[in-house]
């Protein structure tokens, strides 16, 4: 077991082709260096993202001007797209943290080709997520009252509220993610500093590389810092979404008040995160010809993690059903009945299809290596995870205790404007990232190569 864990590349190499250190560096750094060689797809995606960012800006401006009323939220459904999207984005970020922290500590070498990319996704996803809790407040200009800061009123946030825990969880998450990402970037920025010809880029990279010269001392300190940060991030993988789930689990609302929520949310987050990594990685490895770095093996493993976490999530759904029945609580039972037969039942069954049924295709190795299929499944999972939050938030709220106050929720154009706007922001940031920052950790790939190559050389010698 330990053997296979530490050497997953025994069967198939993690870096394909006849590579040298120089060729590896060239592949990755070249993307940043040769600004004119970007594929057309980059422009298409960037323009799309940029266009949607404008929609986002428009939506935010109008939102702040008019108030939350431009959305479809109402009484009883006081939260809807705002919190769905918040949870969805936070969840998407989780793959990055898991890959960088946990896989690092577990010495999973296959993480090296995808960690930079996934970490960037984490940061952008948390940025998208962070917009919602701020803007969804009725008076966003006083949303800073959720932060603990000394003031003459001697008013502090109310510490029993999960929303305050959220503030800490998400801001910690953001801080650590940025630190982690940037720390890993320093040696690569130094590489860029040496390679780029453009004076301006050289200065920028030079400043960013913080005087990195690659001395043994630097490397020693770097390794220490990186491991410490990985240690800090590890609990975050579990804690952030656990706390996000408390927003619901702490309440008394049927459909929210569930002890299964923390593990089920964490699994869901990783599930959604890997789906998003795959969604971006599959086209990107082709457009930038990095198939030899992000190999079919990588795709395979990510699909496996998706399958595993998907099963945990599905287990969560089953537990919810079981407890609705087992609790003998009529409100819980009705909540489940309403999910199955109520006005939003199609969303529930679509969720089961997306998150429970379709991902089962990934049991087959053949399917896991079918790029189109994996890509499709990853999109389906993203949709499914969005629907999951839709089922949890508005569908629980719209019919709670007193039937007199039951209502319906219909999103407005501005709900979608915000949602697609953040997707656009995310796409734009990702494409800016691949253009200006090495999307794969150059030095880590080289280091991996250094460990893979000798083995291959030995094989060759034996054969010879």
């Amino acid at each position: 077991m330990a053997e296979t864990l530490t050497k997953p590349h025994d069967e198939e190499p993690l870096i394909e082709g006849n590579q040298t250190y120089a060729s590896l560096t060239e592949t990755v750094a070249g993307v940043v260096q040769r600004q004119k060689d970007h594929p057309k797809a980059w422009f298409v995606a960037f323009v799309l993202g940029f266009g949607l960012v404008n929609v986002l800006l428009l939506s935010i401006t109008y939102l702040v001007y008019m108030g939350i009323g431009i959305w479809g939220n109402n009484q009883p459904v006081a939260w809807s797209f705002d919190i769905i999207n918040f949870v969805w984005w936070i969840g998407i970020g989780h793959a990055g943290t898991l890959i960088s922290a946990i896989l690092l500590l577990m010495r999973q070498e296959w993480r090296t080709s995808i960690n930079r990319f996934a970490e960037a996704m984490t940061i952008f996803a948390v940025m998208c997520a962070g917009m919602y809790p701020l803007l969804h407040t009725g008076r966003p200009w006083v949303a800073y009252w959720l932060l603990p800061y000394p003031n003459i009123l001697a008013m502090w946030p109310q510490p029993r509220s999960p929303l305050v825990w959220d503030v800490f969880a998400v801001s910690t998450y953001m801080t650590v993610s940025i630190l982690f990402w940037y720390t890993g970037l320093v040696p690569d920025l130094a590489t860029l500093r040496e390679r780029v010809k453009n004076r301006f880029a050289k200065v920028l990279a030079g400043m960013g590389s913080l005087g990195w010269r690659g001395s043994a001392k630097h490397w020693m300190r770097y390794e220490q810092a990186y491991i410490i940060l990985a240690g800090l991030s590890t609990p975050l993988v579990l804690s952030v979404h656990t706390i996000v789930s408390f927003d619901f689990a702490v309440s008394i609302l049927p459909g929210w008040q569930a002890t299964i929520f923390p593990p089920y949310f964490v699994a869901g987050a990783v599930y959604a995160g890997f789906a998003m990594v795959l969604t971006f990685m599959i086209p990107m490895r082709r457009w930038y010809r990095i198939e030899h770095l992000v190999t079919m093996n990588h795709i395979d493993w990510m699909a496996k993690i998706m399958l595993t976490t998907g099963l945990i999530v599905f287990y969560g759904y089953i537990v919810e059903v079981f407890y609705a029945w087992y609790s003998a609580n009529p409100y819980e039972q009705f909540m489940m009945w309403n999910r199955w037969h109520g006005p939003y039942a199609p969303a529930y069954w679509l969720l089961i299809l997306c998150n429970g049924v379709i991902p089962q295709l990934l049991w087959s190795k053949k399917n896991r290596r079918n790029l189109k299929l994996v890509f499709a499944v990853s999109l389906v999972v993203s949709l499914g995870m969005w629907l999951e939050r839709f089922i949890i938030i508005p569908v629980s709220l719209h019919r709670d205790f007193l039937p007199s106050s039951w209502g319906m929720y219909y999103p407005t154009i501005w709900d979608f404007g915000m949602f697609f706007g953040t997707i656009g922001f995310f796409v734009m940031m990702m494409f800016l990232f691949v253009r200006f920052i090495p999307m794969i950790s150059i030095f880590e790939v080289r280091e991996l190569w250094s460990r893979i190559r000798p083995q291959r050389a030995e094989v060759k010698e034996v054969e010879a």
Binding site: G69, W79, L253, L402
Partner: protein
């Protein structure tokens, strides 16, 4: 010496010297400042004078400061609040103490009757109307119309100036022309409604004396003509019944909504409630039979409710008369099962003098005559009912004759005095055209109505709070209508207008006093009491045997149309009142619209669902409107409400709903038989404040029959969990208990046995608490702002699964002020917190608007300002320099801006006002000193508020009733508002 001087001491001499040298005004904060000591200089330079230096901080405080302060420096300056100018009184008027309200007795005239009110004014502006306790037809309570009347005073859409053909004119111009035209006119017509003012009646008579060719045309869209006519048949004279339900043991209400909309309902509800209180000692309940085509709030409280077509009511009463021995001929016995007739007859006969038969205004004169006969036979006249002479009103002409006269030119001067027949009659269109032929046509009204548009002159009328007048109530009780403010606009009292037309200008006060020639002292007593000590209407003797015509059922071919005044906008008079437009109507909870109400089975057979536009044809006329299913309607009855489809009369009124008046005629104002209903294929969107009307088998409204109550006095269903035991907690509430010890604890009890869902509390709350109107679109999105709502549920009546006659239950829901409030722990900024007195408080200023509290509220009583509703209201004010609607706001209640949560506060401002008074006297607030707005308005006194920590307070006593239960008590929220289960008293002999 030197040291003390610079470090701590003050040089008094130096200060004196400096101050002497000053010229003009100089303000100084302290002696240190004057002395310009170095410490003071440092104090000034320091931004936060009392904070210690960063270096002095210990580690924990340092972290606190560092936590966020540096990152957020300066953010606190980012709030914008509107700048306003304020101007103080230069000379303070007498009796006006800033912050102290003044109260005046007045009365609201309404549809030929009136209700006595107490108006509350703050700094000279009236802000709230309450019932007048000493007025017999209010008894301190009120109804939706009197609660909402205050809004009309400040309505920016009210007519503000005289207009001639749409152009601004003056009163002088109008009077000049009128004085010129009237003496030469061939025929003068004054169109008035049922006038409650004796002064106006006197003036009308005087007017006719001066202008002999003047005729008075009565036009009251929702009139009591049938009642008067019925009495004339039976007693030979026009009379009105005055009931006394406090003496009634058995009540038969025939299409009579005597608890909510019939004239006198406020008092009737109180009387009836007195016979419906159940506790351990008093277990005898009165019994209410309701027979009605359309469900009414009265029907909600009925022990037996029978939906019967309007056309069958006469036949029904005939059979009752037959069974009671008041008629020899049987009536329509097929309308009810045998056991119903037997049970009803037995009940009525055994109740005898304690039986009451109430017949609604829409019933035929014959039906009213039958009711008199039945009551005479039962001997209840003089006990549960008196017949008083109807006020002698002159009516020389009907509206149709007026139209003919105008068309022929026989009448060439017409004046509409607060009557709007161009809209509110079936003849509207013809009348509108005919008016154009008159030499002089003028419409005197609060708004520029449809009639005003047809007339050449529009004359703005004052609101009753701006005008002197007098008003008769149902039984002839007279109140003086006392103004609270100078007229806001260029209006003229009707009492001045008529004298001016008669060429003898006079003031309204003088005119009213002329009617009641009493000395100043008596007059002042009248004003103070709100009731004039004048004889009431004469009581008519009723013989033991009254001959009534034989009541007959009419055959219903197809559908029957029942036309009724709207429960919120009445006949259209209140159509421009946003509070009433947005007030969810009983049963349907519709707002901003009327609908074609169909019974369950009619909708089924027509394949119509809610919102399908249907065409209703009655005779040759038809109207189109959206359908709405109303379970409880008689099978083939189509219920239509008046008051909508206004074409003029204000921005709120115009465009809402559809006009039903085309289906009415002078002879049949209440609809008729032989109607057709067809689908048009169009759809309309209606805004209902409640979407789901089934309790889903949950333990929400507890109810049971008397028999069940005797078996199980709590009426808790077997499966229900009930309230969580108080001692079952992991957490000690020692701290909470200590905090609350010796402090008054507020609580509320609502007796569901008394609540019929009349909505008075909802409007009262809206008026008291500055609750904004949000509009149809927002209601449709589920964002209405009412702090108290009336939940309505249907339950199947035993044995009838058709859905055509379900049980109705209503439940007023306001904030429960939970002791374990789920909203409180989830607020991230502590904007909703608990007070020592047990109130769950909202701190609006602190609210960020995360809405988590609302999500976690199991009662969903919280309301969120999704948009800037108050600001939208401001935009509604036409003139920017006079924000009229702002004048209406209660200064003791914060006006909430956008993005904050709000909810019922138990009228904390009233608690605080009472506390101030109590503290001045050095005692606790006494029981009954705090009356919440909803409690005050409630006609049946179903709502009781008070100190629950005092075992002798009324609310504590009521909460000790075995029927008391906490809504959703199993959640352990420990609500302070509790409910008393509903007990019905069906006749065991009647098979349901």
């Amino acid at each position: 010496m030197e040291e003390t001087k610079t470090q701590t001491g003050l040089d008094i001499e130096e200060i004196r010297r400096r101050l002497r040298g000053e010229r003009g005004q100089r303000y100084w904060r302290s002696l240190e400042e004057v002395a310009e000591t170095p410490e003071f200089q440092q104090f000034l330079e320091d931004e936060f004078p009392n904070r210690s230096s960063l270096l002095d901080l210990d580690r924990r405080s340092f972290l606190k400061v560092m936590g966020a302060s540096l990152a957020l420096a300066g953010l606190s300056g980012c709030r914008f609040l509107p700048k306003e100018k304020i101007v103080p009184y230069v000379k303070a008027p007498e009796e006006v103490v800033p912050g102290k309200p003044t109260y005046y007795a007045t009365a609201m005239p309404f549809a030929g009757s009136s209700i006595g009110l107490i108006a509350k004014a703050v700094m000279g502006r009236p802000i709230k109307l309450e019932g007048n306790e000493s007025h017999p037809w209010s008894l301190g309570a009120s109804d939706v119309f009197s609660q909402a009347a205050i809004l009309a005073l400040y309505d920016p859409d009210r007519g503000t100036t005289v207009k001639n053909r749409g152009f601004v004119a003056t009163w002088e111009e109008f009077l000049a022309e009128a004085r010129k035209v009237l003496p030469q006119a061939k025929g003068v017509r004054l169109v008035v409604g049922d006038v409650a003012s004796p002064t106006l009646e006197r003036q009308l008579a005087e007017f006719q004396a001066i202008y002999p060719n003047a005729k008075i045309v009565r036009h009251e869209p929702v009139s009591r003509a049938n009642v008067r006519e019925g009495a004339k048949i039976a007693l030979g004279r026009e009379a009105l019944p005055v009931h006394d339900f406090s003496k009634a043991r058995v009540v038969l209400a025939v299409d009579a909504d005597f608890l909510a909309s019939m004239p006198g309902s406020v008092r009737y509800a109180r009387e009836f409630a007195g016979t419906r209180r159940v506790d351990e000692e008093n277990q005898s309940l009165s019994r209410l039979y309701c027979v009605e085509p359309a469900p009414t709030p009265t029907g909600i409280l009925a022990d037996h409710r029978l939906p019967i077509a309007q056309a069958d009511l006469e036949g029904f009463l005939q059979h009752v008369a037959y069974l009671a021995g008041a008629a020899s001929q049987p009536g329509a016995a097929n309308l009810a099962p045998e056991s119903f007739w037997n049970g009803l007859a037995k009940d009525l006969r055994s109740a005898g003098a304690q039986a009451a038969v109430v017949v609604g205004d829409a019933c035929t004169p014959a039906a009213h005559a039958l009711a008199i006969a039945i009551q005479a036979k039962l001997g209840s006249v003089g006990s549960t009912v008196r017949y008083v002479a109807a006020p002698a009103v002159r009516s020389d002409q009907r509206l149709s004759a007026l139209v003919t006269d105008l068309e022929s030119g026989a009448a060439d001067a017409v004046l509409f005095l607060q009557a709007n027949p161009v809209y509110s009659s079936g003849l509207g269109e013809r009348l509108g055209k005919a008016i154009g032929k008159a030499k002089l046509s003028a419409c005197f009204d609060l708004y520029e109505t449809e009639t005003a548009a047809a007339c050449s002159w529009y004359l703005p009328a004052p609101h009753f709070l701006e005008d002197w007048s007098d008003a008769r109530a149902l039984d002839g009780t007279v109140s003086i209508v006392q103004p609270l403010v100078e007229p806001l606009h260029d209006t003229l009292s009707v009492h001045s207008l008529l004298p001016a037309l008669m060429n003898r200008p006079s003031e309204p006060l003088a005119e009213v006093r002329k009617t009641w020639a009493v000395d100043d002292k008596t007059w002042r007593t009248w004003l103070n009491e709100g009731v004039a000590s004048v004889p009431k209407a004469a009581e008519l003797p009723v013989p033991a045997t009254v001959q009534a015509p034989v009541g007959r059922s009419r055959r219903v071919d197809g559908f029957e149309v029942a036309i009724r005044p709207d429960p919120t906008v009445w006949d259209g008079t209140f159509a421009n009142n946003g509070w009433l437009q947005e007030l969810p109507k009983p049963f349907t909870k519709l707002t901003w619209d009327n609908a074609v109400h169909l019974s369950f089975s009619a909708a089924e057979s027509l394949k119509v669902s809610n919102g399908d536009v249907v065409r209703v044809t009655l005779g040759e006329r038809s109207v189109e409107g959206p359908a709405w299913i109303l379970p409880g309607l008689a099978k083939n009855t189509v219920l239509l409400h008046l008051g909508y489809g206004r074409r003029a009369g204000g921005r709120v009124a115009e465009g809402a709903g559809f006009d039903v008046y085309p289906l009415t005629s002078e002879d049949s104002p209440w609809g008729g038989v032989g109607a057709r209903v067809e689908k048009t294929g169009k759809r309309a969107v209606l805004a209902s404040a409640q979407m789901h009307f089934s309790m889903e088998g949950r333990d929400i409204v507890r109810m049971g029959t008397m028999e069940e109550y005797r078996r199980n006095p709590s009426l808790k269903p077997e499966h229900a969990h009930g309230e969580a035991p108080r001692d079952l907690t992991l957490y000690s509430d020692e701290e909470k208990r200590r905090e609350q010890e010796g402090v008054q604890q507020w609580g509320m009890a609502i007796d569901l046995n008394l609540c019929m869902g009349c909505n008075a509390c909802v409007t009262a709350c809206q008026a008291e608490n500055n609750i904004p109107v949000v509009g149809k679109d927002q209601v449709q999105r589920g964002r209405e702002m009412h702090w108290i709502r009336i939940d309505h549920y249907y339950g199947p009546r035993a044995g009838d699964g058709s859905g055509d006659n379900p049980t109705h239950v209503v439940q007023p829901i306001n904030c429960m002020q939970c002791e374990n409030a789920p909203c409180e722990p989830v607020c991230p900024v502590a904007a909703t917190v608990h007070s020592h007195e047990g109130l769950n408080q909202m701190v609006y200023n602190r609210c960020v608007g995360t809405r988590y509290c609302s999500n976690n509220c199991p009662y969903k009583v919280r309301r969120f300002n999704y948009l800037n509703y108050q600001f939208a209201q401001k935009n509604f004010d036409r003139k920017e320099d006079i924000p009229l609607l702002k004048l209406l706001n209660n200064p003791d209640v914060t006006v909430r801006g956008r993005g904050v949560m709000e909810k019922c506060t138990y009228c904390v401002q009233r608690i605080n006002a009472a506390r101030i008074e109590a503290k001045k006297k050095g005692r606790d607030i006494r029981d009954g000193e705090v009356v919440t707005a909803c409690q005050q308005a409630c006609p049946s006194q179903a709502i009781v508020f008070g100190d629950v920590s005092d075992p002798n307070s009324r609310v504590s006593q009521i909460k000790r009733n075995q029927r008391n239960y906490a809504l959703l008590g199993e959640l352990n929220t420990r609500p302070r508002t509790t409910y008393l289960a509903r007990v019905t008293n069906p006749n065991p002999e009647i098979e349901a």
